[in-house]
C-alpha cells in the first residue's frame, strides 16, 4: 500500500472575483479519517471542490505526492481521488447497479465492454455499502439513506485511495448517520482508504475522526486530533458558541454540550 500524500499549498480560491479560501496550507493524513469542521459558509465545500478540481484555485496548488494535479492526467487523478458531492443527482430511471458501474469510467478503454475487474470493483463497492439487494431498483424510488449509500458506492467503484465526502450524513436520521459513518470507518480500517469529510455534528466528528481541521472565514484556524480540537475554547473560536466539554461515556472521546442563553449556569463548575 503506497502512501498517497495530498497537500494543499497556499490555496487561494473562490468564485469569480470573490475570494473564499484565503491561503490554506494543509496535508491530508494518509490512511486516516479526517473531518473538516466550520460554520456554514466558512468555505468547507469550496475547499473540497478545490481538492477535487471542481474549482481551479486562483493561486497555489494541490499536489499528490508532491506532483501538482495540473501536471497529471485526468484519468490518473480520477484513480486516486474520489468525491461524494454535497448534492448528487442521477439521470432519471437509472438503476443502482448501472449507476455504480459508471464509477469505472477512469478504467474503461475505448470500445471495450466492462472487464472482470470492473465487475469485481462494482460488486465490492456495492457489498461495502450493503446495497446488493437494491441492484435493480431505480434511484428515484430509494430513501435518502439508501441513495446516499448508492452514491458512496459510485465513488468506491472508482477505487481511489483518497475519498472526499461533503456532508454525507446531512438529512439522514441518527440511525442512518451512524450506519453511514460505520461503513466509512470499516472502509478506512479494511482498505486503508484516506477519508476526508465535512460533518456538522461535532460529537460524531469527535467519535469518528482521527484528525480534525477547523475552518473559519476561508482559513484553517486549527488542526489536530479530536481531543486537542474539541475544547470549549476552540469550539467557541470556530462557531462562536459557548459549550461544556465532557467525555463520551461509550467511546471516551470528547463530547460537547452546547450552552443556550436560557441555560442556568450556576451548576456548572
Amino acid at each position: 500500500m503506497n502512501d498517497n500524500i495530498l497537500k494543499a499549498n497556499d490555496i487561494v480560491a473562490g468564485y469569480g472575483d470573490n475570494t473564499i479560501i484565503d491561503g490554506i496550507n494543509l496535508k491530508i493524513p494518509a490512511h486516516k479519517i479526517s473531518v473538516i469542521l466550520g460554520s456554514n459558509g466558512s468555505g468547507k465545500s469550496t475547499m473540497l471542490k478545490t481538492f477535487c478540481r471542481l474549482l481551479t484555485p486562483h493561486s497555489g496548488s494541490i499536489a499528490l505526492n508532491d506532483k501538482s494535479l495540473q501536471e497529471m492526467k485526468n484519468k490518473d487523478i480520477a484513480k486516486s481521488i474520489g468525491l461524494l458531492p454535497q448534492n448528487s443527482i442521477a439521470p432519471e430511471g437509472i438503476t443502482v447497479a448501472e449507476l455504480v458501474t459508471r464509477g469505472r469510467f477512469p478504467y474503461r478503454k475505448f470500445m471495450c465492454s466492462l472487464t472482470t475487474e470492473d465487475y469485481a470493483a462494482v460488486k465490492e463497492a456495492m457489498e461495502a455499502m450493503k446495497i446488493c439487494d437494491l441492484a435493480d431498483r431505480s434511484i428515484d424510488e430509494l430513501s435518502g439513506g439508501q441513495r446516499q449509500r448508492v452514491f458512496i458506492a459510485l465513488a468506491l467503484a472508482q477505487q481511489t485511495d483518497i475519498l472526499f465526502l461533503d456532508e454525507p450524513t446531512t438529512f439522514l436520521d441518527i440511525a442512518y448517520q451512524i450506519e453511514i459513518l460505520d461503513l466509512l470507518k470499516e472502509l478506512n480500517r479494511k482498505k486503508k482508504t484516506t477519508i476526508v469529510m465535512v460533518l456538522h455534528d461535532i460529537n460524531l466528528s469527535s467519535k469518528y475522526a482521527d484528525y480534525i481541521f477547523a475552518m473559519k472565514n476561508g482559513m484553517l484556524i486549527k488542526e489536530g486530533i479530536p481531543s486537542d480540537i474539541i475544547t470549549s475554547q476552540t469550539i467557541e473560536e470556530i462557531y462562536g458558541l459557548k459549550s461544556v466539554v465532557i467525555t463520551d461515556p461509550v467511546s471516551c472521546s470528547p463530547m460537547i454540550i452546547p450552552i443556550s442563553s436560557h441555560d442556568d449556569l450556576t451548576n456548572v463548575s
Binding site: 487523478i77 438503476t95 469510467f105 441492484a135
Partner: protein
C-alpha cells in the same frame, strides 16, 4: 458472498436486449429502404431496383429520384437524431433538444437566408449554417447564464429564441415565396423533394465521421450525464469534451438542415424513443441514429404514398412530436420544474 451474476443479471440481460433491438431496428430500416425504393408513382419490383443499382443503369426514377431521396432520408434522420440525443443527454433533459431550444432554427435562419436571398451553393450554405448554429447556441447559453446558469433557464431562453427565429424564418419565406413556394416550404418543416445526388456525399461523410467520434466519446458522454462535477471527478476533460460534442451536433444539424430543411421532431423524439427501447446504461447514440432514420423514412413513405394528397415528411413527423412535447410539459410541470 453475493453472486456476481445476481447483481449484474439485469445489466447483462440489457446488453443482450440492446443487441436484439438494434438488429430489429436495422431490419425495419432495411424494409423501409426497400419500400421507399420500390413504391411510388411508378412501382418497381425489388429485383428491378437491385439490378438497376448494381448495373447503375440509367433509370431516372430510381437513380435520380428515389436513391437520393432515400439516402437523404437516412442520413438526415441520423444527423438530427444524434444531435438531439447528444443535447438531451448532455443537458439531462428531453426538452433540451436543439429543435426545441432554438439551435436548429438558428441554423435554419442562416440556411434560408443564404439559399433564398443569396443563392449560395449547398456547401457554402452548410458552412454558414454551422456558424449560425454555433453562434445561436452560444448566444442562448450566454443569455441563459447571465444570472447564474441553470438548465431550466436555458430551456426557457431557448424556447424564446426558437419563437424569434421561427418568426424570422416565416418572414423570409413570405418574402421569397412569391417566386418559389416549393423551395420555401422546405424551410417550414423539412422536405425530401428535389434532392440531388451531388449534395449527398459530403453529408454522408460528415455523418459517418460524427458517428465514429460519438462512439469514441460515448463513455465520456455517460460520465457527463451524471453532471459536470461527477464527470470531472471521474476524469473527463469536461470543457473540451462538452464543446466537442456540441460542435459535432451543431455541424450535423447544419448540414442536414441545408439539405432537407429542419425535419420536425426527429432531433426531439429519437433519443427518448431509443432510451425507452434500450437500457439506460447504454449511451443511445446508435439506437437513436437508427430511430431517426426510421422515423424519416417512415414519415416520408406515409406522406408520399398513404395519404390522399402528398405531404412533406416534416409535417408527418411533426404530428408525432407535438403530443410528446405536451406530455413532457405536463409531466415536468407536475414535478415543479421544466
Amino acid at each position: 458472498m453475493i453472486d456476481n451474476s445476481k447483481i449484474f443479471a439485469n445489466i447483462k440481460s440489457h446488453r443482450i436486449k440492446y443487441k436484439i433491438i438494434l438488429t430489429i431496428m436495422a431490419i425495419i430500416l432495411l424494409i423501409l429502404v426497400c419500400l421507399n425504393m420500390t413504391i411510388g408513382e411508378k412501382n418497381y419490383s425489388l429485383m428491378e431496383v437491385i439490378h438497376t443499382l448494381l448495373s447503375s443503369e440509367n433509370n431516372y426514377i430510381i437513380m435520380k429520384l428515389r436513391l437520393p431521396r432515400t439516402l437523404a432520408g437516412i442520413f438526415c434522420g441520423i444527423a438530427f437524431a444524434i444531435a438531439g440525443n447528444t443535447f438531451q443527454t448532455l443537458l439531462g433533459n428531453p426538452l433540451a433538444s436543439p429543435d426545441i431550444i432554438g439551435v436548429s432554427s438558428g441554423s435554419t435562419v442562416a440556411a434560408v437566408f443564404c439559399i433564398l436571398f443569396l443563392n449560395l451553393n449547398r456547401g457554402l450554405v452548410s458552412f454558414v449554417a454551422v456558424l449560425a448554429g454555433a453562434v445561436s447556441a452560444l448566444l442562448i447559453y450566454k443569455l441563459a447564464s447571465k444570472d447564474g446558469y441553470s438548465t431550466n433557464r436555458l430551456i426557457l431562453t431557448g424556447i424564446g429564441a426558437q419563437a424569434f427565429f421561427s418568426a424570422l424564418i416565416n418572414w423570409m419565406i413570405k418574402k421569397a415565396s412569391e417566386y418559389d413556394v416549393p423551395t420555401a416550404m422546405r424551410w417550414m418543416s423539412g422536405n425530401l423533394n428535389g434532392i440531388t445526388t451531388d449534395t449527398l456525399p459530403l453529408l454522408i461523410v460528415i455523418v459517418l465521421l460524427a458517428l465514429i467520434t460519438m462512439t469514441y466519446l460515448s463513455n465520456s458522454l455517460q460520465a457527463l450525464e451524471l453532471g459536470e462535477n461527477y464527470a470531472t471527478v471521474l476524469g473527463v476533460n469536461v470543457d473540451v469534451t462538452r464543446s466537442l460534442l456540441i460542435l459535432i451536433s451543431v455541424v450535423l444539424i447544419a448540414f442536414a438542415t441545408a439539405i432537407s430543411g429542419p425535419i420536425s421532431s426527429i432531433a426531439f423524439l429519437s433519443g427518448p424513443i431509443a432510451g425507452r427501447l434500450c437500457s439506460k446504461n447504454q449511451i443511445n447514440t446508435i439506437p437513436a441514429a437508427l430511430t431517426g432514420a426510421i422515423l424519416v423514412l417512415a414519415g416520408d413513405f406515409i406522406g408520399q404514398n398513404l395519404l390522399p394528397t402528398r405531404y412533406p415528411v416534416g409535417i408527418i413527423t411533426g404530428i408525432l412530436g407535438a403530443p410528446y412535447l405536451v406530455y413532457l410539459l405536463i409531466k415536468q410541470n407536475k414535478g415543479g420544474s421544466i
